[in-house]
Amino acid sequence: MLEIDNLHCKIDDKSILKGINLKIKKGEIHAIMGPNGSGKSTLANVISGHEDYQVTKGSIYFDDKEINDLSADERAHEGVFMSFQYPVEIPGVTVTNFIKTAINETRKSKGLDDMSSSEMLKKIREKANLLDMDSNFLSRSLNEGFSGGEKKRNEIFQMAMMEPKLAVLDETDSGLDIDALKIVANGVMKCSNDENAVLVITHYQRLLDYIVPDKVHVIMDGKVVKSGNKDLAKKIEVVGYDWLKKSK
């Protein structure tokens, strides 16, 4: 589904990714770990099509199609979704209005008519329930005044609504208490199936107790330095990253 081939990228003339290789098949859950500043969030942003990040070398293939030149909205139409580490506050636009616009614009790109209001409402209710969200939350301005936990829950709510092929979760666990973490992780797992894939970016192993990865990759200094199964994450939790530096 996602194939990243020797990806190099820079922002403001600063090289961040220095040759990333990654292959995710459908039905798989991959986790990316790594110390601060190693390029994890950059990778998420580059996959999503953030224009500030300039790809200088290499390719991103999504469903065997190179998507390097697609804009963020076009990638979303293809089925790429990113859960933001820091979701942006947008005053004056309600969660409902936002998600309706997002879904209908995506449908439009596929030549489909708008989703009917009743169908939309039903889906919104169902997914809000999945994430244990209050209904008044849907009429609030997007992320404005949301707690950290509410913001992250809202991201996964959007993921559940958009039903992407690939969900990139950028530090979705940061700022969450254990109860919220369980709800969010549970939401992700309920949406995960044989046809889609998840890429989890995290600092901590604890999220991976709930979203259990098939593969774990460690990024350091813009490169994947080690890949393994879920035990790799457990080892890192105990011993940190230093041993990987030495083996590099």
């Binding site: 963020a72 909205d73 139409h77 933001f84 942006v88 947008i90 004056g92 616009t101 614009e105």
Partner: protein, 438 residues
């Protein structure tokens, strides 16, 4: 001959057409004298620092109106709100058109000023109110007063609460030479009464005409007035709107100004407090592109204790458009416990768009709450990426952010079909076909 001289000279011809015995005529003559002394404002006047009338007054205009404009309902229908019952006062090239209007004298007067000036039963009211709130030192207001003849006349008696809003529609056909129009509206809302008004000035054909409109509003004790101005004229038309509001105790007046089009638009909006416990709301939403220029010049004079005013002006400027906000809050020494709030936020979409924002607070009382804030910025790039990452294309994402930004002004529009109309005007302006429920 300069246009200013023409205005002065034409007064003699104007006097041939009107009733010189009318109590307002002395006001006309005095106002003309003041205009003659002061002339048009220039950029040297502090209140006109960022808006020049030079190119407008260098041209020539027709002062006499087109008496037989051939206008039918189909030509103007799209400029009014038709899906609700409403009163309509329609003027075409400055002349009242009874066929397109829906006026009343049943329990209230929703009609025209020329009738109120000519009939004796209105004499007392006209003498009591006419020109009582218009400042002498504003020469464009003086110019309007000197040529007072036609406009809307709305009188809502004590405790009358009309269900339907009033639409005041001024059309200009542009069929002959560009017209200089000077409508004069008077609105009097007595104790415990209320009214909703929608005002629009619209050119039907591209021309470089100018409207110098003046509206006097008198809100008596405990009255409520909701006033909406829709400024979405063709790109060649010019509008100077002078609105003066006199509020008695416990009254509540709200003015929303939607400025989406026109070459040059200047809004002089002044509130004067004449009692305690008054509420005044001034909201504006400006969305411009091309070479359009809109100048909001507001004054709230807190002259009595325990009153509130709330100003919120938002602007979004593309291409080479220019916005001006000059908002003055004047708190007199006796106006203790005043609560005055003012905010002006602007977004510049393009490099060449420009905003001049100038809050002015003059406070002579010592126990007041006054705040003001002004921002000029760009669309939040991270917010744009966030929306795009959810499949919303750039144009629609900009529109959604614009709506969000404007929402505070839109959400207090109390007439649902008007809100719908404004939403569709915004969608059209932003080139998207999004339906927003706000």
């Amino acid at each position: 001959m300069s246009f200013q001289d023409k205005l002065l000279d034409s007064f003699i011809a104007f006097e041939q057409e009107i009733d010189l015995q009318s109590p307002v005529h002395v006001y006309r003559k005095n106002a003309l004298k003041r205009f003659e002394n002061k002339g048009f404002p220039t950029k040297k006047d502090e209140q006109w620092k960022y808006t020049s009338l030079k190119s407008i007054i260098q041209r020539d205009y027709n002062l006499s109106v087109n008496r037989n404009p051939n206008i039918e309902l189909k030509d103007i229908k799209k400029y009014s709100i038709n899906d609700i019952d409403s009163f309509k006062i329609v003027f075409v090239d400055g002349v009242f058109n009874p066929f397109l209007s829906n006026t009343t004298h049943d329990g209230m007067d929703i009609c025209v000023l020329s009738a109120a000036l000519s009939k004796s039963k209105y004499k007392k009211t006209i003498s009591k109110y006419f020109n009582k709130i218009v400042p002498d030192d504003e020469s464009l207001a003086s110019l309007n007063t000197s040529y007072t003849q036609e406009g809307a006349y709305i009188y809502i008696p004590k405790s009358v609460l009309p269900e339907d809003p009033v639409q005041i529609l001024h059309f200009s056909t542009g069929k002959n030479k560009p017209l200089w129009l000077q409508p004069r509206n008077i609105i009097i809302v007595e104790e415990n009464a209320r009214v909703e008004i929608i005002e629009r000035h619209q050119s039907l054909k591209s021309h470089t005409g100018l409207t110098n409109s003046l509206t006097e509003i008198y809100a008596e004790k405990n009255s409520f007035i909701d006033y909406y101005k829709i400024q979405n004229d063709l790109e060649s038309s010019n509008l100077i709107d002078n609105t003066f509001i006199d509020q008695k105790r416990d009254s509540n007046v709200r003015v929303h100004t939607f400025s989406f089009g026109g070459k040059l638009t200047r809004n002089n909006l002044n509130f004067y407090h004449k009692g305690e416990n008054i509420q005044s709301t001034l909201k504006g939403l400006t969305i411009l592109e091309g070479d359009q220029h809109v100048d909001h010049n507001t004054l709230v004079n807190h002259a009595q204790p325990n009153c509130e005013s709330h100003q919120d002006y938002k602007g979004i400027f593309s291409e080479r458009s220019v916005g001006v906000f000059n908002g003055k809050i004047l708190v007199d020494q006796i106006a203790q416990k005043t609560n005055a709030f003012q905010q002006n936020n602007n977004i510049l979409i393009d490099n060449k768009a420009k905003v001049n924002s100038k809050p002015q607070l003059e406070i002579f009382a010592d126990d007041v709450k006054c705040s003001h804030g002004c921002t000029i910025g760009q669309l939040n790039k991270e917010a744009l990426f966030y929306l795009k990452s959810r499949g919303i294309p750039e144009k629609e994402a900009i529109a959604l952010l614009t709506y969000g930004f404007a929402n505070n002004v839109l959400k207090s529009v109390n007439i649902p079909s008007l809100k719908k109309r404004i939403n569709s005007l915004i969608s059209k302006k932003l080139g998207v076909s999004l339906g927003f429920d706000l």
